[in-house]
Amino acid sequence: MPRIGVFVCHCGHNIAGVVDVQAVVEGVKQREDVVFATDYKYMCSDPGQQLIRESIAKYELDGVVVAACSPAMHETTFRKTVAAEGLNPYRCESANIREQVSWVHQQEKEEATRKAIEIARSIAEKVKGNEALESLVLPLTRRTLVIGGGIAGMQAALDVADAGYPVILVEKNERLGGKMSRLSGTYLNFSAAPDMLKKKIARVLSHPNILTLTRAEVVSLSGYVGNFQAAVISKEAPPAQEAPETEPAEAARAEGDVSDEHEFHFEVGAIIVATGWQPYPLERLPEYGSGELPDVIDGLAFETILASKEGIHRPSDGAIPQEIVFVQCAGSRDPEKGVPYCSKVCCMVVAKQAMLYKECVPTGQAYVFYIDIRSAGKGYDEYVQRAMTDSQVIYLRGKVSKVFNETSRPGSKVIVWGSDTLGDRAVEIAADLVVLATPMAPDSSAVELGQRLHISTDANGFYNEAHPKLRPVETLTAGIFLAGAGQGPKDIPESAAQASGAAAKVLQLFSHDEMTASPLVATVIAELCAACGACVKVCPYGARTIHPVWNIATVNAALCQSCGACVVACPNKASQVHNWRPEQILAMVDEVL
């Protein structure tokens, strides 16, 4: 006979305001195997947990039911509590009498109490049948795949490699550096960008723990946290001298005879996705010329002009622009025609570009159209103020409605129509050059790569983080982390910070001796399995295979999410989920009826 304790929580008035908790205590005591039952104001509080621990010792409990909130809320809390007292955590279950009872039956107190008793009793029946399970132990490959060789990817790769672990860095372009390599300079400290980047690239390329593959793409990924298998195709032979000390290219097999493509297979334990951003296409901005006007360019194109040593010349005829107009939010914050989000960096970038323009063309005039200035950050607003005061850039608060060429003759001006909402007037500027601060869009490969890696993207194509506030560098797929602008618009310091955060998460993972996973997964009763394969077909996680030698269905416990699809599909009831066995569930139903 099991010795079960039931702990009924008031949750303040949340439960006790509707459910008669005393009646629940009395109701569950009707079960023979419930040797102790009590109620308490807040079971999740320290005294509440202490009460559970003391009761386990005092009444020699071998099973615990906490009748409280949803298991999604505190199941882990209470399982840790009982484990601390030496009880197997899987002998503890939550009976949900808050979300499923008190919150939804506030007007029916008597029925609510009856339902709470039935739920608590049926969960006690479940605990009675629960096995004392042990956590699964999984192997751990301490090697990291970083996808994207921009500033974020390089920063993450260096952080992990510096800690002594091998890294494979995959970059789809010929060179490392990403979009940062196209910048003339950074804001706050103009000149440093190219140098900073050069040093970073040199460090990556010479790092003994980093294998860099350029013109390369991740073509497939299988496995799970700690044990991913990644296939990478590169159009370039791997640089041999940079092989990480631990056999990275051991599985590499070059197929160079047929084409100049080389396919590599890597075992990795963690993945950092840093695929970055690309400029929003000008073709999608018809009111700003659809990219057909030669002297209307985006910010990145203007960076190339600024970076050249020949000074600022406009594309159409090489003239030095005497009047230049910067259009902020060109396509951003425009849910109807462009993208709904703010790209965050443009206010600062435009201030920088306008100041650099004034340095090159002191006699020229720069105008900036803006909705509002978003310069949150240390030293950021002061920087924009400098553009306004020291560089005499004219800031006009309002949107630009239209940009067009009145003639296509050489030397012609670009006409900019905008509004100055502070001056309450329509503005027309005949400009020599127009720079559009277009949105940072996610890299075009992001959605497809996300599908390949089983990580999700949002409506705009940016990767979704696991939690927008508390888990900003993780994805919902364990072992895959995010860095840089692929997750959302960011500037260089933010990208670098997130990259270091992602690297820290990888190192945290690698700090474990082994990986543990929940044992609440599907299992197969070998004697009942006919190897029909029904479970293989229905498993959405690819966790089922028919064993080639034993000829029975097997479960990859690391992939199984215990959804139960195989249990339903199995005609012979050979598939079961631990602690959700059919006889357990039937007994729980019997307890209620």
């Binding site: 018809p286 239209k402 060429n405 009145e406 003639t407 006409i415």
Partner: protein
């Protein structure tokens, strides 16, 4: 094919050339525009006050008159089209307002009359290809700039005729007639609208900008679907303001179609213009029988 036709006030008076050419073009294309037996003003503006009921009575009466003639009423005037289609759209979502307005109409409006612009009929029923096949005197080499104005296209969610920023419906129509179609940056800027009455200087300035831009882009004529646009662009070029022969004629698309379809000059309806458009068609002006087409 016969379609109920609401001419509206302006096409019965000042813009009779639009009306005449439109009916003739429809006839030539095998579509009969059957004027509503009884009709009155559409209201001329779509009301934007908090309670629109009073101002919606006039267009609702037109819709009620139209529903007796069939399921579908077409217009040529961009303003009538704008008011009627928005009224139809508004009332289809506001049954309570419709019920209240129906207290004041002779016949209750049932809310289902389809409102179209004649351009839509050409595009959706006849198709541009079908139109071009019926062209007898293609206007090859004539450089025309479509001018859309505001009311024909906006607001797009209610009007839904074409993209308001990059419209093509007039372009396509004129291309089907064989014209060389020119886009210019002012093609959907405001002509000044009713400010012609209260602040006549403003439309004159706006028209000046529009015409100058069209001229810079090489247009020999501007083409519109709106009698108010036509007036606001044409009138500032009247003889006492501009030297004769210097202006850019402002035409209705139906007038160009009348020429291209080989109709008699009487059907072109080109007698009420401040800038005479006829010299543009000196080669086409020959009688149809003598044309080498």
């Amino acid at each position: 094919m016969a379609v109920a036709y609401f001419p509206g006030c302006t096409l019965s008076t000042k813009a009779s050339g639009y009306d005449r050419s439109g009916r003739a073009v429809a006839q030539a294309l095998g579509m009969t525009l059957e004027e509503l037996p009884e009709w009155q003003c559409c209201g001329a503006t779509f009301p934007l006050s908090i309670d629109n009921s009073m101002a919606l009575i006039a267009p609702t009466r037109v819709l009620a008159q139209a529903q007796q003639a069939g399921e579908h009423v077409t217009t040529l005037c961009a303003i009538c089209f704008h008011v009627l289609r928005r009224t139809q759209n508004f009332l289809s979502h506001q049954p309570e307002v419709l019920e209240r307005i129906n207290w004041f109409t002779e016949e209750p409006y049932l809310g289902a009359t389809r409102v179209s612009h004649f351009l839509e009929l050409l595009r959706d029923e006849l198709t541009w290809e079908g139109l071009s096949q019926q062209v007898k005197r293609p206007l090859t080499g004539l450089k025309v700039a479509p001018y859309y104005g505001c009311l024909l296209l906006r607001p797009p969610t209610e009007i839904g005729l074409d993209d308001p920023d990059e419209p093509t419906i007039l372009h396509d129509c004129l291309a089907a007639a064989g014209c060389e179609v020119i886009s210019f940056p002012y093609q959907s800027e405001c002509c000044g609208s009713y400010l012609a009455v209260s602040k006549p200087d403003l439309p004159e300035k706006l028209a000046g900008d529009i015409l100058a831009s069209a001229g810079r882009h090489g247009a020999q004529a501007l083409v519109t679907a709106c009698p108010l646009c036509q007036f606001n662009l044409d009138y500032p070029q009247r003889a006492e303001a501009h030297p004769a022969g210097k202006g850019i004629p402002v035409l209705y698309f139906t007038q160009l179609l009348a020429v291209a379809l080989g109709l008699e000059q009487e059907a072109w309806g080109m007698d009420g213009h401040y800038v005479d458009p006829l010299p543009l068609f000196s080669s086409q002006a020959a009688p149809a029988s003598a044309s080498p087409a």
